[in-house]
C-alpha cells in the first residue's frame, strides 16, 4: 500500500484522540460522583487527571503539527488532521468542565449539598455517553450517527432547565440557600456546556467524511430563530 507509514501515523493519531476522549469521559463521571459523595480527595485527583489531559492534548497537537508539516496531507487527510486539532481542543475544554465541578466540591468545604443529586448525575451520564458515541462516530466517520447525537443535547438542556427551576424555588423559599444553590447551578451549567461541545465534535466528523462545514441544529437554535423572527 502506498503511504503505509503515513496511514499508520494517522491511525495512531485517531487512537490518541480516543484515548484523550476516554480520559475526559472518565473525568466528568468521576467529578460528579465525587461531588455526590462529597469526597474531596477524589476531586483533587480530578485536578491531577486534568494535568494529564492537558499534557496529552499538547502531545497530540504536536504530532498533528509535525504530520501536517512533514506529510503534506491533502483532501480527506487534511480535513482529518485539521479536524483532530479542533476536536482535541474541544476535549481539553470538556476536561476543564470536569475540573470545574471538582473545584466546586473542594470549595464547598464542609457545606452540605442543598439537595441529593439525582438529575446532575443523569446529565453527566448522558453527556459522557454522547461523548463516547461521538468519538466512535468520529473514528468510523459515521455521518448518520454524528448527525443524530446532537439531538440528544435537548435532553441535557431539559434537565438543566429543570435543575434551574428547582434551585430557583429553593432560593425563593429561603434566600439563605443562594450560595448552596449557586454551587449546584454552576455544576449543572458545566454539564450543559459539556454536552454542547459534543455537537462540535459531531460537526467535525461530518466535515471529515463529507467536506461539508455545517452546523448541526439543536432545538435551542430553532427556539432562538423563532424568537428572533417574531420580533
Amino acid at each position: 500500500m502506498l503511504r503505509k507509514t503515513f496511514e499508520s501515523e494517522i491511525k495512531q493519531v485517531k487512537d490518541d484522540v480516543l484515548m484523550l476522549g476516554s480520559m475526559v469521559e472518565q473525568a466528568v463521571i468521576n467529578s460528579v460522583d465525587s461531588l455526590k459523595k462529597r469526597d474531596i480527595k477524589a476531586s483533587e485527583k480530578i485536578f491531577e487527571g486534568d494535568m494529564l489531559i492537558n499534557k496529552k492534548r499538547f502531545e497530540i497537537e504536536n504530532t498533528l503539527m509535525v504530520l501536517i508539516a512533514t506529510q503534506q496531507p491533502m483532501a480527506h487527510d487534511l480535513r482529518l488532521l485539521a479536524s483532530c486539532m479542533e476536536i482535541i481542543s474541544e476535549l481539553e475544554r470538556m476536561g476543564d468542565y470536569a475540573k470545574g465541578i471538582a473545584n466546586i466540591n473542594i470549595r464547598m468545604g464542609d457545606t452540605s449539598l442543598l439537595k441529593p443529586l439525582i438529575d446532575v448525575p443523569r446529565m453527566a451520564q448522558i453527556g459522557a455517553d454522547m461523548l463516547h458515541r461521538s468519538l466512535t462516530a468520529f473514528v468510523n466517520e459515521d455521518v448518520e450517527t454524528a448527525k443524530k447525537i446532537p439531538i440528544e443535547d435537548d435532553e441535557v438542556d431539559a434537565l438543566y432547565n429543570q435543575i434551574y427551576r428547582e434551585l430557583m424555588t429553593f432560593i425563593i423559599a429561603d434566600p439563605k440557600t443562594i450560595e448552596r444553590a449557586n454551587w449546584l447551578l454552576w455544576v449543572a451549567h458545566n454539564l450543559e456546556r459539556f454536552a454542547d461541545r459534543v455537537t462540535n465534535i459531531c460537526e467535525r466528523t461530518v466535515f471529515i467524511a463529507t467536506g461539508e462545514m455545517t452546523e448541526i441544529k439543536s432545538t435551542d437554535d430553532e427556539f432562538w430563530k423563532q424568537q428572533h423572527q417574531e420580533k
Binding site: 500500500m1 502506498l2 503511504r3 503505509k4
Partner: protein
Amino acid sequence: MAQSALNPETSKYVLETKDLGIYYGDFRAVTGVNIPIERHKITAIIGPSGCGKSTLLRAFNRMNELSPGTRIEGEIRFEGENLYDPSVDPVEVRYRIGMVFQKPNPFPKSIYENIAWGARIHGFKGKMDELVESCLRQAALWDEVKDKLQQSGLALSGGQQQRLCIARALAVQPEVILMDEPASALDPIATLKIEELMQELKKNYTIVIVTHNMQQAARASDHTAMMMLVEDSKRSGTVIEFDKTNTIFTNPKDKRTEGYVTGRYG
C-alpha cells in the same frame, strides 16, 4: 575477503564527520561539516543547488576520488574507523556503503543479472536464485517482475528501474545506502513507492539521501542536514543546521533554514 580495517561496531552512529572539508583541486566545495549518521535511520541532506549536497554524499563512500584532484580534510569515521585511512580499500568501502543515483542506471542485462552480477563479482557463493528473489522482495519489486526475470532491466518503467537499482545495491549486502536524488526522475506515485520502500529498508540498513525536494525530506527522513553556501568569497557549502526532521520543519533554529523550508530564501 581480506581482513578489513573497518570493523563493524554497534555504536549508535554508522558514519560521523569531523570538521570535514572537501576539495576539488584548490576549490573547497564543502567546509567544516560535523554530522552523525544514525544507524537504521534515514538522514536527508537538503539545500539549494550547488551547495555541496552531492559532494558530501559522495564523500561517504569515497566516490569523489574517481575525479582526479579530489581530497578531503578532517575525517569521516565509518563504524568508528577513519574511512580515508590508507589501509582502507575504497572498493570494499563502496560495497559496504552502496549508492543509488538520480537517473535509474540498470545494466543493459536481464533483471536477474542486474542483481546477480555484482554479487558474483564480490564472491557470493550461496544460492543465487534466492539472493535475487530476496533483493527484489526487499526492493518491493518481486511481484512485478517475478515472471520476467530474464527480460532486460531497461524494459522496466522508470520507477521499477530505480527499484531494480536499489535491489542491485542490496545484493552485495551493504550497511549503508546512499541515495542521490533517487526520485527526481520519477512521477509522484513512483516517488511515494520509493519513499515507502525506504521506510522498509531502514529496518535493516542505514540510509542517507540527498534531495532537492524538501517535501520528500520532510515525509521520508528521520534527521535532516540543512546545507547552504557560507557567506564568504570562497563560496563553499556547509551544514548550517542538523536536527530531527520534525524539528527542522516545525521549529528550525537557524533563520536561513526557516527561510529555506518556508520557501522564502534560497
